[in-house]
Symmetry: C2
Subunit: 342 residues, 2 copies
């Protein structure tokens, strides 16, 4: 009987929506944790978080506190400013950071990883690995499967993003605004620039000089990097919708080779990390209500354009806190462990 190797794990941003899911998944996926520590900002110090049945006291994040662990995994989801600190702190140590923030995703020295797509990108990591944007990860899983079957020329995606992508307070805001509207009380807006209840906000992130938002640009740049296709034509319109969990994506794509709809559905169904839900006549397709807290990327409404070869439409839903964030980070860590890179 071989002994199972265990590693120390620190979760940074442990009180946030993604941090809490990281803690939960560490337990439910039976990750071989030695010492588990939870870090957040000073105002959360001394509060407790849970990893399954294990209660962990939250520590205030500092260089000294984090490095005291010596070696192991740091799962981070605490924003760009913290990421910059983490990257400096772990340099030259035996700690490996898997970070959910966008701070260094496009840095050529930082692997940006979706395990189903580019697991080998972790080779030669310098202690810091980036987890992609919550919309990009599910899209990349699907695009990879399409590319492997028929090549890929062009992708247009319109997103339907839930408020949980904007954190705890955004979820409270949707609930509170909705109740206010249904009971004819005044609506207060704080997290989003406009009311989100029963509304659509076609802006996620700051607006760049070319008119695309940062969120839309992430989908372009990160998809190219993960797929290793720097010239892939990608375009995105990102919209916030009044749902609590899971992001939807309407995807229009052009392949290099013309394949049948059936061949595409088969390839998607056989690809790792994808579940095909595609029986629309029986009202079966991915929706937030049937994909929340599910591990896979769900694909349905797969259609081949009747007039134009190599052209397809499909619909994706994935849990933005799971495959879009915490789960993918943990899957990266599992892969690092399996490859002896942690």
């Amino acid at each position: 009987m071989t002994e199972r190797r265990t590693v120390n794990v620190s979760v940074v941003g442990a009180t946030g929506l993604v941090g809490r899911e990281m803690l939960r998944l560490l337990d439910s996926r039976d990750f071989p944790v030695d010492t588990l520590r939870a870090f957040a900002s000073e105002r959360s110090e001394g509060t407790t978080v849970w990893s399954g049945e294990h209660m962990v006291e939250v520590e205030a994040l500092s260089r000294e506190a984090l490095l005291a662990t010596g070696s192991g995994l740091v799962l981070a989801s605490a924003g760009k400013a913290v990421s910059a600190l983490l990257r400096e702190w772990v340099r030259g140590t035996d700690l490996v950071v898997v970070d959910n923030s966008s701070a260094f995703r496009m840095d050529p020295a930082v692997p940006l990883v979706v395990p189903e797509v580019n697991p080998d990108a972790t080779a030669g990591h310098e202690g810091y690995i980036a987890n992609p944007n919550c919309t990009t990860t599910p899209l990349a899983v699907v695009l990879s499967a399409v590319r492997n079957l028929a090549g890929l020329e062009e992708v247009f995606v319109a997103t339907y993003q839930s408020v949980s992508g904007a954190g705890n307070k955004a979820m409270e805001e949707l609930a509170h605004q909705t109740m206010s509207l249904l009971t004819e009380q005044e609506v207060e807006t704080e997290v989003f620039p406009h009311r989100i209840a029963f509304n659509l906000i076609p802006q996620i992130g700051d607006v760049r000089s070319d008119g695309y938002t940062e969120e839309e640009r992430k989908v372009v740049d990160e998809s190219r990097k993960i797929l290793g296709m720097p010239d892939l034509i990608v375009s995105c319109t990102a919209v916030r919708v009044p749902t609590f969990a899971c992001h939807g994506e309407a995807v229009h794509l052009v392949t290099k080779e013309d394949v049948s709809r059936d061949a595409l559905v088969l390839a998607l169904g056989n690809a790792p990390g994808i579940t095909v839900l595609d029986a629309p006549r029986e009202f079966v397709y991915p929706m937030p209500i049937n994909t929340v807290e599910a591990e896979d990327v769900f694909v349905g409404r797969v259609r081949k354009h009747p007039d134009k070869p190599c052209t397809y439409d499909l619909w994706i839903v994935a849990d933005n806190l799971w495959k879009g964030a915490a789960l993918n980070s943990l899957q990266i860590a599992e892969r690092l462990l399996a490859d002896g890179r942690l």
Copy 2:
């Protein structure tokens, strides 16, 4: 002083969401109504509806009752079965039907009209004119402006459609389900195939053998007919979202000529029926909350693709009950009147 010509007007489907807006707009737009009558099914007989301050008693629809008016306008929004009757009934009479149902939209003998785009299509009408689908009309207004500037090769649209497109009961269902969820009560589903509150349903209409829904196909066929471009490549993914009013559309399009973003914005702003709301850095863009009960089609987030010529992304919102249905029908009638075709 010339006397203003007045016409008799019958609204068929007067108790439905669209019928009520037709009645309301007849008054607010000061349509020159002589006698106003309201028709619905037998179970609504004797109830009352309002056109501004004018109360109208609802009559049960029958051939005899409708034709008793002799001449004038019939504004209809009562479903496909009623449309088939209406078309037969008015044949050879002096009544002209403007119908919001999809029954005869693709009939070559029936004009399908968006007044800003193809007003002359009403010439030689045979007493029956069709109003396009609620998603198609706003899209056609925008596509026409783009085509006039730069030509048009290809269009992909992802829709964000409010529940009012599915009628009174659908609006009640969203409100009721939402309240049930916020108060932890059981959710009942009747109108939609799944819960719509805090969810996304990627199916509107029946599913065809090629996998596209009837709603998606309408956008393709009707856009081609209205624009007079039978070979235009159009693709659509139609999604129901938990909003009460207005439909959003994320549009990706390819033109024949490469024009600047500024030129496109200018052309859209100068086109009839369009208001450009495009200052995303100041959080200005079309949303349901700022376009409900507004007449125009609202366009924002206009972007020129940085890597591919002739390629643009933009975002449309319009009130599906107004420009998407009742208002466009009334604008058709106004045009008929101005052209002496009514």
